[in-house]
Amino acid sequence: MPQAYQVPTRRELLLGSTALAAAAFVPGRARAEGRDPRLLTIVLRGAVDGLAVVAPVGDPNWTKLRGDKALALDGATPALPLDGFFALNPAMPNLHRLYRAGQATIVHAVATPYRERSHFDGQDVLESGYAKPGAADSGWLNRAAVAIEPSERTDLRPRPGFAVGPIAPLVMRGPAPVLSWAPPRLPPVSDETTMRVLDLYRHTDPALARALEERIGLAAIARAGGIASEPGEDLPAVQIGGIEQVRKYYAEAAGAAAKFLAQAEGPRVGALALDGWDTHVNEGAVKGRLGNLLGALDGAIAGVETNMGEAWRETVVVIVTEFGRTARINGNDGTDHGTATIAMLLGGALQGGRVVADWPGLNESDLYEGRDLRPTTDLRAVLKGLLGDHLQVADRALATSVFPDSGAVRPMPGLLA
């Protein structure tokens, strides 16, 4: 591994660094020499409230907008400072550590080209890489794997992609072969799904509602009493999710992906999806549901770093979601479907430690359609920057097969170390 080998960075290339004079004759080779990059994509389904993960504490309108729900640098549970303007949700100490070590980058006010507010369509655009929903049955990561430039050392083409789940997330589906791995036990039904079913029953079928309520009550008692909720092989067990189950599944799914990607002969690109981010009611950015989910995600991030081992240095993990949420809190202490949000990039291969944002502001007139954080960065620019610099996917492929008709969206430079 090229510890002693000085690899010129894309950033230096773009800046025209003189150090590149010699390498410039064989730029592709030079960049590729000895590298063995890994890219793991994590899709957070349900639309993450980016403002509650990375809060613009330096924006004077921030506390006006969110009131006592706004993350702040003071108070009982202070947010973790990032760069003087943004602060990180306190549920994510691992991400904060990586950020300070230059191994995490936040992109804020970012969005896909999708401007409606349907989860399914939003996820379709996010994962397919097309500008419109329903355009393709394959994802940008898979098509990128097909388009990777062959080189002597960065030989990614013959390897399958990797996906967690009984069915690969769309982002990883496509012409390139995909190795799928599913945890032996699928995640139990989440509290969120249970509550939605219960809500439906309450509006339509009191008898079923009562039966389900009893069931939930039993589950809560079992949890409080420390009764194992792990079902036996044959015995049906009380199986209503709980954050511990979520934490376990997040860690298991992400940790397994890292183990596969770390292997010398293993896959080099992978994807998994984590559900549960649709926080319409009692969002709980710090102490409640969102805080818990972020804590689970933070634990999974630490697991990826550990399981990657030596390969962490050559790894980028990109964490994305279909869209953001309303800038204001709604009538149920939650947030509704919005537009711009954050993307989180982590890994030893990054030139991190910064928040990349063309901040749109939070004035009434700044908000998109008067309600959402306005998108100022196209997520495709971030992904194209990563795929180009990290995996050596050619610009032409990025603008055509990987993100069709995205020629006008320039790859974001300088993301990698």
């Binding site: 769309l170 699928l186 995640p187 809500d199 439906l200 339509t204 008898a207 069931r215 049906p236």
Partner: protein, 477 residues
């Protein structure tokens, strides 16, 4: 005729196994006519699969399989007992106990072959579920499931449960009740399940010589569960007499009958001699015909008609079905000498059967089939079997001879398990499906606005599918 997609969807859920893609449109012109037409299909209700062995052949095969296994185990044990002295002699002191005999290393990670009885069970289950999943509507299969539960046996008692359903239930599902009754009570699976194979007339040759006696289990359950119904017109005297009549109805043991073991046999040596009286009717001792005569009379008894009609109406319509519906079905049963096709047609044609409220909760197996049909997936049989068991309705393993309950209350408790199962299923198949398309196919106009809204707001496709599968209008029929 005007199209009635709502009644079509109701027909599919209430009388069939739920819609598949396109089912609602296919029968919307005449839902009731489509149901009646299903009763007229050639071979309706039959499974024509030459690979499935007869129940007797399955019985013999399992007998041989078990015998071979027992012999292998014994051979292995004898070999081990002969060998280990070496280790004990060679090792001294405290470590002697740890020394291992020179046995071959265990073969690691070699997937064990599925034992024959389980494989036979899976094959039968697959055939049963395929018939339900692939049926156009599924009325006849629903009737098969109903009657199989009415005349239930238990797979823990016999390896013949699957074959029994094909041999005793299916051939008569649109035939006469009397013929199904005769086929069921005379089937070796039933004789074993309800212990009649060892019931011996006290005054028969075998009874006197072997000092064994009567077992009235089968006779009682025939009267109480299969025909007249509990607390009707019979008493303990009738049970005892009927049990004596049924002595000698037994099964040929495979041990001594390599060609016909597992088949029914009437063993005169064990049959109680002499005439008997059952609910006022005298039956001369005509051997096996004595029992058949009783069954034939029971089949046309008004109490039987009422019992069967009530159960049918309860199964398809409501825990407390309308009296007019029960009366209508009872009358039809009596008028047609127990013609089950005519009774089914009467059910379909009754106005009470078309109440728009979906009140009955689908039984677990029905609901699983409905999920598979809605999503166009045939399903892995091991998962299906496990899922049905998890929901409290293990296939061919009823908790008692009464069969699985047909009351809503019995299945409400399992709602949490249904949610777990729906969630797991949706996570496996949901990412590749469009929930709205599935809802259109599976519920069509039955889908409530609330369900549509909940699905549209779901955060993932699998969550939307879970909501659909759990929706009241998909749980109930």
């Amino acid at each position: 005729m005007a199209l009635d997609p709502k009644e079509a969807a109701l027909a599919l859920h209430r009388f069939g196994f739920g819609p598949r893609s396109g089912s609602i449109a296919a029968i919307a012109a005449d839902p009731r006519g489509a149901l009646l037409a299903e009763l007229e299909r050639p071979n309706a209700g039959q499974i024509l699969n030459p690979d499935l062995p007869t129940s007797a052949a399955a019985n013999r095969a399992v007998f041989e399989y078990n015998a071979e296994r027992a012999a292998n185990d014994k051979r292995e044990r004898l070999r081990r007992e002969a060998a280990p002295q070496v280790a004990v002699l060679n090792a001294g002191g405290d470590t002697a106990m740890e020394a291992k005999p020179d046995a071959p290393p265990p073969t690691a990670a070699q997937p064990e072959a599925v034992p024959l009885p389980r494989q036979l069970f899976r094959n039968e289950a697959r055939a049963r579920f395929d018939a339900a999943i692939n049926a156009e509507i599924g009325l006849v299969e629903r009737l098969v499931w109903f009657w199989s539960n009415h005349f239930c046996v238990n797979a823990d008692a016999t390896v013949m449960a699957g074959g029994y359903e094909r041999e005793a239930i299916r051939p008569h599902v649109l035939g006469r009740f009397k013929d199904m009754l005769l086929a069921a009570e005379g089937h070796p699976a039933m004789l074993v399940y309800l212990n009649n194979e060892q019931s011996i007339g006290p005054d028969s040759v075998a009874g006197i010589n072997r000092d064994r006696g009567l077992n009235e289990n089968l006779a009682r359950e025939i009267l109480e569960l299969h025909t007249l119904g509990v607390r009707t017109v019979y008493g303990q005297v009738d049970v005892t007499s009927f049990a004596k009549i049924l002595t000698g109805w037994t099964i040929l043991p495979p041990l001594t009958n390599p060609d016909h073991g597992g088949e029914f046999v009437f063993l005169r040596r064990a049959h109680e001699p002499g005439p008997q009286t059952v609910i006022g009717n005298a039956y001369a001792d005509s051997g096996v015909e004595q029992g058949r005569a009783v069954l034939a009379d029971l089949a046309q008894h008004p109490a039987t008609a009422k019992h069967v009609a009530t159960k049918l109406a309860r199964h398809f319509m409501a825990d407390d079905p309308p009296e007019t519906l029960v009366d209508g079905l009872t009358q039809r049963f009596l008028d047609t000498d127990g013609d089950l096709k005519e009774v089914a047609a009467a059910l379909i044609s009754a106005p009470e059967a078309w109440a728009p409220e979906q009140t009955k909760i689908k039984r677990p197996g029905e609901w699983i089939v409905a999920m598979l049909r809605a999503t166009g997936i045939s399903g892995d049989i091991v998962r299906i079997i496990r899922g049905q068991a998890l929901l409290g309705e293990p296939l061919w393993r009823p908790p008692a001879p009464k069969g699985f309950s047909d009351d809503n209350a019995a299945w409400l408790d399992g709602l949490g398990q249904r949610l777990d199962l729906a969630n797991t299923f949706a996570q496996r198949v949901g990412p590749g499906l469009d929930p709205e398309t599935v809802a259109d196919a599976a519920l069509g106009p039955l889908a409530s606005a609330e369900t549509r809204r909940a699905m549209a707001g779901a955060e993932t496709k699998p969550q939307a599918l879970t909501l659909l599968l759990m929706a009241p209008e998909f749980q109930r029929r």
